[in-house]
């Protein structure tokens, strides 16, 4: 059995309200098990407690209750963080440094030797797409560039575990895609990636496992395909070239200019319909199974929580 | 309010008001400065202790600033308070930095201008006391006493201090011997002059020449003075016994009032005047001649 990369048990944390009045329960007993290897998505709406959890894991704040283990060891020992690459939420960096200096600075905090550091810095800045911009002070970087530098510094120690707080925020669609590819590549290298996000599409595309947190509590967690594949809701078949056969007439959703689309409930029906259509000389344009989307799970979770 | 004319009008009004207010402020200021008559015009300077606290340990720097103030503005103060303020500022300044020689000397100079002798000596006395190594301050004090106040007693006292602190400087020794001779301590004076002569006997530098010349001159005079004083004393005793002055020096010797009939430094006899009972040197004095012989 592999050890959990991150094990979070019954984490509780409160903050004082504005002017120390009142009490905000940010986490109300969070449990997480992040297996080694794979991509774990930590999703939840704004203010759910994602960043708070990550800050506790990286030792920036201290929980009221509960414990955290990283690769089986308590996270209170700072040396554990040698194995963690962390990208904080909307990274704030020393803006008087250049991108290169920044990455090197963080590298030296890991005790990486100079020669190796130089090579790695160059490689990483390349990797995150900042080639040619190494010598510009961060003050002049755009938000997306900052995010990329942040990612580069998170990778500097070649850690087994990457904790990324909203790695895709502030990036354009191309940038997001690049980062997604990068995360997948890192996974192939055998790293564990734990990232928080509220962009569900991204999460859905790459996560192996997810946990959904709402108002400081985990409401859903598990392997993504298990959460999603429980049921295919329906299949859409679109075709052209023939009239819709009479037995399928009542299933039509749209039909115009020779194109038609029919919606079917179960797999047997689909087999039959396909056979019929092909026999009649029709041309199948697409077959789309409609699963429950993460979004739907997400929204329904929130609904449930609200109703509580 | 939108009309430009109105705006301009208001602006002008403001300008006029401003002009008059400046004028008035100026008047106010003159009024404030006139509340107290000029004779009492003054600024507050804290006590030494408070100044020390206030200086945050940078006492020398604060003392320097006070010194500048003191030097340039001592006469800014109203007539009636001027000297008490001068004294006060001086106290604070020298308490902050007791080692600043300039402060004592310049303060004394400023007090000397109106001839406030007590202040002059007070300032210098403090310097002498606070700087036990320093010979310049007592030397300065001696100069005031000797040349300006002509108080030989005091001059001798200060030169004595300066001499003790620096026995090598001939200037000091010379002036000490000079003030001693005027004060009446002729033997010590003679001793010092002879030492100076001894030191520069074979010195041909301008300084050596000067001191040789001056010490010879003084030795000549002091020796005469000694002889004169001795004779006068003897005459006094003679008169007490016989009710009149002795007719000649020989009589004085015969009666046992003097051991020798005094000769002047060049070995000649003095001229005795029985009426006044004093002697007078009649030798023509040529120092150049004398130097070789002494």
């Amino acid at each position: 059995m592999t050890k959990d990369a991150i094990l979070v048990k019954n984490l509780k944390k409160h903050f004082k309200g504005h002017l120390s009045i009142g009490r905000i329960e940010a986490l109300k007993g969070v449990n997480l098990e992040v297996k080694e290897g794979g991509i774990y998505g930590f999703i939840g709406p704004n203010g759910a407690g994602k960043t708070t959890t990550l800050k506790i894991i990286t030792g920036l704040i201290f929980p009221d209750e509960g414990e955290v283990q990283i690769f089986g060891k308590p996270h209170t020992d700072y040396i554990i963080r040698k194995d963690i690459g962390f990208l904080p939420e909307s990274p704030y960096f020393y803006d008087y440094l250049t991108g290169e200096e920044l990455v090197k600075f963080f590298g030296s905090l890991f005790g990486i030797q100079k020669k190796e550091l130089n090579e790695r810095t160059k490689y990483l800045l390349d990797l995150v797409g900042l080639k040619g911009k190494e010598k510009i002070p961060l003050r002049k970087y755009s938000k997306g560039m900052l995010q990329r530098v942040g990612l580069a510094q998170a990778l500097i120690n070649d850690a087994k575990l990457l904790i990324l707080d909203e790695p895709m925020s502030g990036l354009d669609p191309i940038g997001r895609r690049e980062i997604r590819d990068l995360i997948l590549k890192l996974k192939e290298e055998g790293k564990t990636i734990f990232f928080s996000s509220h962009i569900l599409a991204d999460a859905e595309m790459i996560c192996d496992e997810v946990a959904i947190i709402v108002k400081g509590k985990i409401v859903q967690k598990g392997r993504l395909e298990e959460l999603l594949a429980k049921d295919v809701q329906f299949y859409d078949i679109s075709f052209k070239g023939i009239e819709t056969p009479p037995e399928l007439k009542d299933k039509v959703v749209v039909a115009f200019e020779g194109y038609s689309m029919i919606r079917l409930k179960d797999e047997d029906e689909v087999d039959k319909a396909l056979a019929t259509l092909i026999n009649k000389g029709g041309k199948i344009m697409s077959l789309m199974p409609h699963k429950t989307s993460l979004e739907e799970i997400f929204l329904s979770s929130i609904e449930e929580k609200k109703n509580e | 309010m939108r009309s430009p004319i109105l705006k301009r009008f208001i602006a002008t009004l403001f300008a006029i008001l401003l002009f008059f207010s400046i004028f008035n402020i100026h008047k106010d200021l003159t009024y404030i400065t006139r509340i107290y008559p000029d004779e009492y015009r003054s600024y507050y300077i804290p006590s030494s202790l408070h100044a020390k606290v206030f200086s945050l340990g940078y006492t020398n720097a604060l003392s320097d600033l006070l010194y500048l103030w003191f030097v340039y503005y001592w006469d800014w103060y109203g007539k009636n308070v001027r000297y008490s303020y001068m004294e006060h500022t001086f106290e604070v300044m020298t308490d902050l930095d007791p080692k600043n020689q300039d402060a004592y000397i310049i303060a004394a100079l400023l007090a000397f201008v109106p001839l406030k002798w007590d202040l002059v000596y007070k300032f210098l006395d403090k310097g002498i006391e606070k700087n036990p190594e320093n010979y310049v301050i007592p030397y300065d004090a001696g100069n005031y006493a000797l040349f300006s106040e002509k108080n030989y007693e005091r001059a001798a006292k200060y030169f004595q201090i300066a001499f003790e602190r620096n026995p090598e400087r001939t200037t000091i020794k010379n002036l000490l011997a000079y003030s001693l001779s005027h004060k009446g301590d002729l033997e010590t004076s003679l001793k010092y002059f002879e030492e100076i002569l001894d030191k520069y006997k074979n010195d041909d530098s301008p300084e050596g020449n000067y001191y040789r010349f001056s010490s010879v001159l003084h030795i000549f005079e002091v020796k005469n003075e000694i002889a004169k004083r001795d004779v006068e004393k003897a005459v006094e005793k003679y008169r007490a016994k016989f009710g009149k002055n002795p007719p000649s020096l020989r009589v004085l010797k015969k009666e046992g009032f003097i051991n020798e009939i005094p000769k002047d430094p060049l070995g000649k006899d003095y001229e005795y005047d029985p009426n006044s009972g004093t002697i007078k040197c009649v030798s023509k004095f040529n120092p150049k001649e004398v130097i070789g012989r002494w």
Partner: protein, 262 residues
């Protein structure tokens, strides 16, 4: 790699970064300009004085250097930790395998390096001014050493306060410390005459001995008159400053260790 070696590397990295931060910020140059203006002022005043010009330059120059360095150390020092939290730059640093103490110590050494270079630059300017007036004495570098020791203490205080309090509060506390440290040597002289019975006097003197006394780190007054300095004086100053700042930094680390960085 041993933990100790790693910590050393981290402290050096953070110190270097702090140094970069300072020399790339404007405030550093503004303060330098102030100090140079101060020295210029000393020279101008020295023209006005009657008597020894070099004394005025030396006195005012050293006082100015000391004062401005202390102000720099206070106002940069209190921001050293707090601004990092404020700007959230600290998150990324402390999420690395770095004990929080290393962070504080690194910041401290970084600022001390900056202050040291600053100080040397000012002393060189002062030396040039003094050379010009034939009043140069190498002893100003000795005075510089003591100014530096004082800076070590003041910076430690600033860091200590900034690790537990807001910048305004820590500025006030650090300034208060500076003022007390610089005036406490006059307290017995000031207070004792005001008290009437012996017990009161004893209590007052006891408190006086507890107060920090920075006057033992002030030699400017001695070197103006070339007063010979006892050999024990230097050692005592160094021990005092090192002990004092180590203790403060240590206490600062203790407080900072348990703090939520929100």
């Amino acid at each position: 790699m041993s933990r100790f070696k790693l910590s050393c590397m981290q402290v050096i990295a953070i110190a270097k970064n702090t140094y970069k931060e300072a020399i790339r910020s404007k405030i550093f140059y503004v303060l330098m300009a102030f100090a140079i203006a101060m020295l210029g002022f000393a020279v101008i005043l020295s023209f006005l004085t009657i008597g020894s010009q070099k004394r005025v330059i030396l006195d005012l120059g050293l006082a100015g250097i000391s004062f401005f360095s202390v102000m720099t150390s206070i106002f940069v020092g209190i921001g050293l930790i707090y601004l990092e939290i404020e700007k959230k730059t600290i998150y990324n640093v402390l999420s690395k395998p770095l004990p929080r103490a290393s962070f504080i110590v690194g910041r401290y050494f970084g600022l001390m390096a900056v202050l040291g270079i600053n100080l040397i630059a000012m002393l060189i300017i002062l030396s040039i001014a003094l050379l010009f007036f034939k009043g140069f004495t190498p002893m100003i570098f000795y005075a510089g050493l003591f100014i530096y020791l004082e800076l070590a203490v003041i910076t430690a205080i600033a860091i200590f306060f900034s690790s537990i309090a807001s910048p305004v509060l820590s500025a006030i506390c650090t300034l208060a410390f500076y003022l007390i440290g610089h005036t406490s040597s006059t307290f017995p002289e000031m207070l004792v005459p005001l008290l009437h019975n012996d017990i009161q006097k004893k209590i007052a003197l006891f408190f006086f001995h507890i107060l920090p006394d920075l006057s033992i780190l002030n030699v400017s007054n001695l070197i103006t008159y070339n007063i010979p300095i006892a050999p024990g004086f230097t050692i005592r100053g160094i021990i005092y400053a090192v002990l004092f700042s180590t203790l403060l930094i240590f206490a600062g680390c203790l407080f900072f260790k348990k703090r939520d960085l929100v």
